[in-house]
């Protein structure tokens, strides 16, 4: 495979995953903002959304006030925000267009449609209902994209590079989301707060589509250390860091099979997975959750660089 195509596929996977994450984040935020101010309320909800998207600084630079409309516009459709849903889809589609030959017609049509659909919404979202419609539309398009890729793409480098981008981006998103919220994710020794925290935890779970999963896994009331456990260590949870690394190791192994040898990226990924497997939720809190997550994000970035170097991007 052309090295340029490999890079395009990897970034296609990343942009699609990021757009999907933003959709889920916005959906959860609209719900949180609808609660009375004593339970969170609009202002703090939208501010938190900016942080969870790692976009607080970029938004601050625009000089605009933090209101629901402004933040929703910025995260969803602002052409000036390189990480908005709109821009992610545009980047994804540009990457896909540059490697049309590596994608099946259906996979390409799905990402092209996602880009066509999001453009219909223009560059403002006046009403929450419009925002929800946009979020649903984009989510559907991206499900179609994933489905087309899953059903029809040949299981070879093309597919593995795209999936690799997805798993790496997914791990990054989950880690950043958790890091924004580490102050509410308390070890079991701490007294649990009031209903305010409860809604913050459910919002966090919703953002990664894990609220129902939580109930199935723990059959327990929502407890902050279990939220952390679910999103960091539980392999059956597809957005947990451990699950993402299991996927990453798998895709890198497939690529190694295709090219006939392993490399530094394979070793880094395996080491990362081993580290996660060795942790328990108690050891994580002992060592400091914030420090752990910062370290994880840095390692994940280093893995991204190693992948690029190993495959001659």
């Amino acid at each position: 495979m052309l090295s340029r195509n490999a890079a395009n596929l990897f970034w296609l996977g990343r942009y699609v995953e990021r757009a999907d994450y933003l959709c889920r984040l916005l959906g959860a935020t609209v719900r949180l903002a609808a609660l009375p101010a004593t339970h969170g309320g609009a202002g703090t909800a939208w501010e938190a959304a900016l942080k969870s998207a790692s976009a607080a600084d970029a938004f601050g630079a625009t000089g605009r006030p933090i209101t629901d409309g402004e933040v929703a516009r910025f995260l969803a459709v602002d052409p000036g925000n390189a990480s908005s849903i709109r821009c992610c889809l545009e980047h994804a589609r540009t990457n896909a267009r540059a490697l049309r030959t590596a994608l099946t017609a259906e996979t390409w049509e799905a990402i092209n449609s996602a880009w066509i659909e999001v453009q219909r919404f223009g560059t403002t979202v006046a009403e929450p209902i419009t925002l929800m419609r946009l979020v649903e539309t984009v989510k559907q398009s991206l499900l179609a994209f994933d489905g087309a890729a899953h059903r029809n793409q040949l299981r070879e480098s093309t597919y593995w590079f795209m999936r690799l981008g997805t798993s790496l981006e997914r791990a990054d998103n989950t880690a950043r989301l958790l890091d924004q919220k580490y102050h509410i994710l308390l070890p079991r020794t701490e007294p649990v707060g009031g209903s305010l925290d409860y809604f913050q935890w459910t919002t966090l779970l919703r953002t990664v589509s894990a609220l129902t999963a939580y109930r199935w896994v723990y059959r327990d009331a929502i407890k902050p250390w279990l939220v952390a456990d679910l999103l960091i260590l539980k392999k059956p949870m597809p957005r947990s860091l451990a699950a993402c690394y299991e996927d990453t190791v798998f895709y890198l192994d497939r690529l190694a099979l295709d090219r006939g040898r392993q490399g530094p990226a394979n070793r880094l990924a395996v080491a990362g997975l081993k580290r996660l497997e060795a942790e328990t939720i108690d050891t994580l809190f002992q060592g400091g959750l914030h420090e752990f997550l910062l370290g994880f994000i840095a390692d994940n970035n280093a893995l991204g660089d190693a992948i690029a170097e190993q495959h001659l991007f």
């Binding site: 495979m1 052309l2 092209n112």
Partner: protein
Amino acid sequence: MFGTGGYPETVDPAACRAAYALVAAWLAASTPELLETRRRQAELFFRRIGITFAVYGDPDADERLIPFDIIPRILSSAEWALVEEGLKQRVAALNAFCADVYGSREILRAGLVPEDLILANPQFAIGQVGFRPAGDVWVHIAGIDLVRTGPGEFMVLEDNARTPSGVSYMLENREVMLRLVPELITGETGEGGVRPVETYPEQLYASLRSVAPPGCRGEPTLALLTPGLHNSAYYEHSFLADKMGIELVEGSDLFVHDDVLFMRTTAGPARIDVLYRRVDDAFLDPLVFRPDTVLGVPGLVRACHAGNLTLANAIGTGVADDKAIYSYMPEIVRFYTGRDPILPNVPTWRCREPDALAEVLDRLPELVVKEVDGSGGYGMLVGPHATAAEIEAFRAKLKAAPAKFIAQPTLALSTCPTLTDSGIAPRHVDLRPFILTGAGGSTVLPGGLTRVAMRAGSLVVNSSQGGGTKDTWVLGPRDSAGGPG
């Protein structure tokens, strides 16, 4: 002779009339609303699969759709047999001409074509002198533009022997029609049915494979070189690479080492034997042509001359499809094939000749004047459609550099029924069939790209000037798709 006039193709031979009758029945059974819905479905289809083209100099139109007309154009098997034979003859002559002007130059010694028109032609590639490409094929892919003025009267308007485009539109137009009216295409439409065109990518692959260079060991590796995402024909490049299952490469993916071309892959360098290039000569190799090019690869030409690479089309074929050479094509065809051209030229005045120039200047308001090295419908004068001021401005340009221009009469192009804003109406059409040439000879695809001038009376069919396209149906037995060349 102008405007809504022109030969209406629907009155063609019985076979063709019968097929048009089926189309007419379909149209009659469809309300205007339904037709409009169909048209929009077709447009949506094109958008979803991403068939767009860029219009240079129009920032808002980076990706524009070519208007597609849902009423097909139909040609009978007898009409096609004539066209096919004529095209093979024409391409044989183009190939022989290239081999000759870069070889023994017999046509110059015979005095049939002025020497300066070839040797001083900007398209003449001096470095190709003495070079013999694999299989002696220069023009692997040709697109010959035809116009029609009456029953059985097809004329060649232009030869495209460099990097002709449009074949993807032909294939996708058929794909759209198969979705919109499958029963008409797959049914008994007349003379057996509509002949398939979808074998083109396979034939192209086979044709390119047959001209692997002498230095190729084992099964040749093919790749398609594109200028990139922003080229107006990028969609076509990716489409063809995809259908042939070969890599779509850009200059930055390639390098030449020891006169061998390689592409950079995730598993290290991989050798390329045949490169279907959709990049113009001038941008192919900074060591030989424009030194500032980033679209090509340093050393590409040496790899070719060392016998390690076949370029399709070969470098220097532009000398054969130049508009100044065009007017000599009847002589060229006779010289190399020993027969009269089956497809005549459009009568052409060479403004480089004083007598012709005087006549052209005299009759400017009724003629079409083109730059010899222009394309895409840019920089031409359509006399009957131009204002007095435009004509006078052109007259000055023409007098200043007469050798740069040729002139042709304004032809009464044939018309086909077309869906317009005000219902179904005749519109002028032309046809670009595609001819593949490999080591074993030439193949003509049964069909081609029909371009249609969407404005009433207009004769300009270029997509960059708002022209549209139609599906082209060649009738005949379905198994006669023709083998690869």
